[in-house]
């Protein structure tokens, strides 16, 4: 019960709401601006901004479905509930605060009814509620408030009846003009717009970041790689006024820009190199998948206009039918999705990637019913479905990725509730209702894919440019203008400064040049601002919606891996080609974008570092912090290799080995591209100067077993070692006494192998497999002995622990299991598995396999079990071996350890 009460504490309730409607609430308790009043145009906003949070914070704990409480039979969590009231009748009278019960009780005027009981609201809070009731108590909350089931309508009017032109995103963006330059530091229209918005909200705008910060930021955003110290110094010291412009142009021209933006696009396109699940070991690799990846990289690198990119991706069979310009590969956008058993699911996947990816519309929601929030009827879904269903892969196409129109394209029926056998009316292949006029003719050109592409890739489409600009903005600025990057529907609010998006989108759709767009954004003051805030702006705008400061970014998976490769001097910059498994033992130094993406079993490494799901279109990356990331960075062999390579770069600089400070400086420069601060220099140098401690060698279980003979009965413990003598020759998987086999008495046929052996010819000379304990440990020993012939007189099996017999058994054409025996051993103690013949050694082949589980003595104390503290298995079969060379452990020296730590630092992982 106490847990339950805990969860309805007001702050948590607010959090719960914020999860559902992030755009409505910042999660902060609202501060009340004095004299705030709802105006005609912003009544809804007024409610959302001031009234709803207040009700949630002060009233819901006792009066809401969420808390399950309705004291006085009263709910205050929907408009209807407030009208209905509780045991004392209606809570409010619209327009008449003085007659409203609510105002009376919050004023504490009635001695018997004072709400909230925890304490009177502040005057300004009371004033807010009064003003709200006075202005008509506009309240959009539906009954069963915040019901998140998508079966429930957002509002009472059907979304199908909504006029698209009433939604901001469905109106074609226009260029913006600004009256005057308000600050000499500001040139671009978007900067003026942002600066005015900040000024209006009384927020101080951050200063321009210093050059070292800017170049790091630019390198990350445009290439995903870190700049070298030399590059930074050249830029910092440049006297040219256009140094920043030149740097931007240089990076835009580098192939790394194509790789960086190509990878962004692959998230949109849910790119993978495999089909997903395939029955019965069928080939999973998508033949030629990398051609789409490389086309994407190339297109961004060559600044192919975005409208063209869209047309190729949807209809390259028309724009480049013979693949003359290599654009057929673009169709991987449609064809590289997960392979589904049901073709309807493939169609769904393609509708989704087109509509969310290119238009920011969630058309796939309309598969089973009309869209719940947007004017997207089910007919729209099947209109697009018909286009895709009328496309097919050719038998001998110019690209394995291409689609062509079927010879007889057909319209698709609506499938009622999305069910295959439940056909509704046939829908003509055409564009989305909300984005076309009633008079617009249906698609007639083949499947209609080309017409669809043309209707998307046009400046007349209000969404295409906005959606792409918003994506590019989020890549560069670190936060999107429109929070729901792939849903620009009715429920999505416009950006805080809508004109910034409109201005950029309108100018982008004039030429569709991505590089021009990127260039404009990175040259803006908004982009170049410091992350640090001025004054109280953090508290005033915690989400940075008014763009008054920079956003700190964390390196994504690709950039982190690529950057580590860069500082270790091992990055292989070659471009394109077949995908490479980057998680196999064989190390590869190619950029991460060339990694094999197996969508069926995406390696844990990708998931751990929040790689985009390759199953569906991904609007944006998550950035989680989990210990598995740290474990990889701390312990993986890959990271060990990187630390060694990085230190190797420093060693090549021939710094005197004694000059530890110089080493510290050099390694800071190599990894963080800067000099250490005096304090860092002291700490890191002290670290370098402390002698390392060699890691405990991992015990090679093979080394714990030896193979030999011993005189029976074995002597007492003291001279045990002199008694055991090793078999000297290893031939064909057997330890034996001499080169020739059989050899002279008493050895005769004696040998020891993987699963058993043969006795000597002397009953007093046993063949022995000896286990020597590497540590103090408790062992549990079990095994199986077997003699396989009814001739001769059998074999005697003995187990001696430190010379003491603990088991003895004779088998003649029979078998037996022994154990479990529990034995405590000190380091160096032995267990001997001995076999001896009877009077005759004829037919004395035997089988004997045994296993031991060991628990180190100290592991019994919980928590003391680090590394050496775990149990291990010893197995006579598994760990049998001929002569071998023990693997040498390569430990990290101090310089390498320091390199690793700098790579792990927050400074390396975050971009200011």
């Amino acid at each position: 019960m106490p847990i339950y009460r805990k969860f309805i504490a007001p702050t948590l309730l607010i959090t719960a709401f914020a999860i559902r409607a992030p755009e409505q609430l910042s999660g902060q308790t609202p501060s009340t601006p004095p004299g705030a009043t709802p105006t005609e145009s912003n009544k809804l906003d007024f409610f959302e901004k001031h009234v709803r949070p207040l009700l949630i914070e002060k009233c819901y704990e006792c009066h809401s479905h969420e808390s399950g409480e309705s004291d006085g039979d009263l709910f205050l969590d929907s408009a209807a509930a407030m009208q209905k009231g509780g045991s004392r009748g209606a809570v409010l009278v619209r327009g008449k605060p003085n007659q409203s019960l609510l105002i009376r009780v919050i004023n504490y005027r009635d001695r018997n009814l004072q709400m909230p009981p925890s304490g009177k609201l502040s005057d300004s809070q009371i004033e807010l509620l009064r003003a709200w009731i006075e202005s008509g108590a506009i309240d959009p909350r539906m009954e069963k408030p915040e019901k998140t089931d998508h079966n429930h309508d957002l509002a009472t009017t059907s979304p199908m009846d909504r006029d698209p032109s009433t939604h901001w995103a469905f109106n074609v963006p226009v260029r913006q003009s600004v009256d005057a330059v308000i600050h000499s530091d500001v040139e671009d229209t978007i900067d003026v717009l942002a600066a005015s918005a900040a000024a209006e909200a009384d927020i101080k705008v951050s200063l321009r970041a210093d050059r070292a910060t800017l170049i790091r930021r630019l390198y990350y955003d445009l290439t995903g790689l870190p700049p070298s110290l030399y590059t930074i110094q050249r830029f910092r010291n440049s006297k040219r006024p256009d140094a920043y412009h030149r740097l931007v142009d240089q990076l835009l021209a580098s192939p790394a820009f194509g790789e960086r933006f190509g990878r962004h696009w692959l998230d949109v396109a849910r790119y993978a190199d495999t089909v997903g699940y395939a029955l019965g070991g069928k080939e999973r690799r998508y033949k030629g998948s990398e051609r789409y990846r490389d086309w994407t990289i190339r297109s961004f690198a060559q600044d192919m206009p975005y409208d063209e990119m869209v047309r190729h991706q949807l209809a390259a069979d028309r724009t480049d039918p013979t693949n003359e310009s290599g654009n057929l590969e673009a169709m991987g956008f449609l064809t590289l999705g997960r392979q589904f058993l049901n073709p309807l699911d493939t169609i769904d996947d393609r509708i989704d990637v087109i509509t969310r990816g290119l238009l920011g519309l969630t058309v796939a929601c309309a598969r089973c019913h009309d869209h719940k929030f947007d004017p997207i009827p089910t007919e729209d879904y099947y209109a697009l479905g018909g286009i895709i269903a009328s496309s097919q892969r050719p038998k001998n196409g110019a690209s394995p990725l291409m689609l062509i129109d079927k010879p007889n394209p057909i319209d698709s029926p609506v499938l009622i509730r999305g069910q295959m056998g439940n056909r509704g009316p046939i829908v003509p292949r055409r564009f989305l209702t909300a984005l076309r006029s009633d008079q617009e003719p249906r698609f007639t050109d083949g499947s209609g894919r080309k017409e669809l592409a043309d209707r998307i890739a046009t400046a007349d489409n209000p969404l295409t440019a906005r959606v792409m600009v918003n994506r590019v903005w989020s890549y560069l600025i670190g936060k999107p203008l429109v929070a729901n990057r792939s849903d620009f529907g009715f429920r999505t609010k416009p950006p805080a400064i809508p004109k910034v998006l409109d201005e950029l989108a309108a100018s982008f759709s004039a030429d569709w040049s991505i590089k021009k767009l990127v260039r404009r954004i990175v040259l803006s003051k908004i982009y170049q601002q410091r992350v640090a805030t001025e004054g109280e702006s953090l508290a005033a705008d915690p989400e940075n919606r008014l763009l008054a400061r920079g956003n700190r970014k964390r390196r994504d998976f690709e950039s982190l891996r690529d950057s580590i490769l860069t500082v270790s001097g091992t990055l292989d910059r070659s471009l394109g080609g077949p995908p490479i498994n980057i998680t196999s033992n064989k190390s590869t130094h190619r950029r991460t974008i060339y990694a094999m993406i197996d969508r069926q079993n995406l390696p844990a490494l990708f998931r751990t570092f929040d790689f985009a799901s390759p199953d569906t279109h991904s609007p944006g990356r998550y950035f989680t912090t989990v210990p598995q990331q740290a474990l990889f960075l701390m312990n993986s062999p890959e990271m060990m290799a990187m630390a060694r390579a990085t230190a190797g770069v420093i060693r090549q600089q021939n710094i005197s080995p004694d000059a530890t400070r110089a080493h510290t400086k050099a390694i800071f420069k190599q990894i963080l591209s800067r000099d250490p601060s005096p304090r860092e220099l002291v700490t890191a140098t002290a670290f370098l100067e402390t002698p390392p401690q060699e890691p405990k060698p991992m015990t090679d279980p093979r080394s714990l077993w030896s193979y030999g003979t011993a005189t029976m009965p074995l002597q007492k413990k003291e001279d045990q070692s002199s008694d055991f003598s090793a078999l000297r020759q290893y031939r064909d998987g057997r330890w034996q006494a001499a080169d020739e086999f059989p050899t002279t008495a008493p050895f005769g046929h004696a040998f020891l192998g993987k699963s058993g052996g043969h006795t000597t010819s002397d009953p007093s000379l046993g063949v022995v497999r000896r286990y020597t304990a590497p540590q103090t440990e408790m062992i549990t020993l079990e095994g199986k002995i077997r003699h396989n012939s009814d001739q001769g007189d059998g074999v005697t099996f003995l187990i001696h622990a430190n010379g003491k017999e603990i088991y003895k058994s004779t088998q003649l054409n029979s078998q037996e299991k022994h154990g479990p025996h529990q034995i405590k051993l000190k380091a160096g103690d032995t267990i001997d598995l001995i076999a001896t013949p009877g009077r005759t050694s004829s037919f004395d082949s035997f089988e004997w396999t045994a296993k031991m589980q060991t628990v180190p003595a100290q592991a019994h104390r919980e928590g003391q079990a680090h590394r050496e503290g775990q149990g291990a298995e010893r197995d006579t079969m598994k760990h049998f071996s001929g002569p071998f060379e023990q693997e040498k452990i390569q430990s990290l020296d101090r310089l390498e350890q320091l390199a690793q730590i700098l790579i792990l630092s927050n400074e390396f992982a975050f971009i200011d």
Binding site: I3, A16, I19, H150, D487, N601, T616, L631, S891
Partner: protein, 473 residues
Amino acid sequence: MEPVTKTMLNHCPTTRRSFLKSCGAGIGSVAMTDLLARENISIGEVPLHFPAKAKHVIHLFMNGGPSHVDTFDPKVVLEKYHGKTAPTKNLRTERPTGNVLKSPYKFKQYGECGLPVSEIFSHTAEHMDDICVIRSMHADVPNHEPSLMLMNTGESRLVRPSMGSWISYGLGSGNENLPSFVTMCPGGYPIKESQNWQNAFLPGKYQATYIDTSGQRVEQLIDHIQNTSVSERDQRQQLDLLKELNRQHSNLRDEDKRLDSRLESFELAYRMQSEASTTFDIQQESLSTRKMYGKGAFARQALIARRLVERGVRFVQLYTGAGQPWDNHDDLAKRHRDVAQGVDQAIGALLSDLKRTGMLDSTLVLWGGEFGRTPVVEMPKEGSNQGKMNGRDHNHYGFTCWMAGGGVKGGQAIGSTDELGFQAVENRVHVHDLHATILRLLGYDHERLTYRYAGRDFRLTDVHGKIVEDIFS
């Protein structure tokens, strides 16, 4: 009350930063680490909707589809019709089926409740007074892939988060030193592989950590849990240096929670090295405990499962084995017995062990496959069960799951199949209903455990789900 909950109540996120700042360097690093550790215990992303007993789930996944009429849903009438045409028409399943096939096993009544259980589950049967058998389960299609997806994610075709991911998302981790969702399967994957425990559009941390339990040592079980190139002491010194450098870095900057939590994550990982080593080392259990669970990989995973939930892991899924061990289209009498032998003792031991430690109250144990099997024989088919007529086909019309612990009322059977065991008829429980009920046992209204993605709120039960009211104790 378990320790995790206590810590939850002490959780006080708003004051940490100011606390650390005000203490500055004055506070010892041990105390600081301790503080961070406690704070990192997550309270989950979604507050509970109801008070609940269950805080962990152990899902014993009998992949391949165990036959209900041979395990927990005996049908005496099969004897009568054995070898004859069934009195009702055979429902259409994946493959052609023929005459009635009686169960090769004996059933006995167990416990005070007297519920009948097949001899192949005699260890499990000792716990019938704690077990609630649902005999009226039904799913959508008689094929493995979609049915596995349905059972695990509530959706047979499209990519959706698995139940374990949803529950991890809702409840958060109970121990940040360990993953919150762990899946174990010896020797490889079940069919559909890692899709069975996918996070889909939920953040990556909610996907299960998969462990192949054919390995036994902890470094074979968890990626990068050990470092053989840096000694423990040196790694501690490395992390101390890292902490120092990071602190200098963040001192120059405004507060940013992300910087702190990344720093913390290295400390957590450091602790996880020993925590995981301990958790996965079942040799630390007494010989008698290990003997109680029995031999083999499933016994090992059952024992690990207990150690995991004990330490706060939310959802542990154990598969019977790679591929589909229960899918016995032929030689069912022998093969079902063999497969059951590999799991029964361990399941019985797990229930005893959980009960002994008091963990059964807060741990919901779920047993079942993706569907059941037909009460009639499967006809021989070239290339699969050629020449044999001694197995059963898939059956999604009716099958059995059972649950124990976590607020479940044991000693009862809910619902029933028809006379032969072909189809659920009374108190039918669809997989969606099972999911809704499990979420309810954990304190969630299945309609309100949602995640906004691609323009709408998704949930485990999609638009379905009816709670099985009789199940609650």
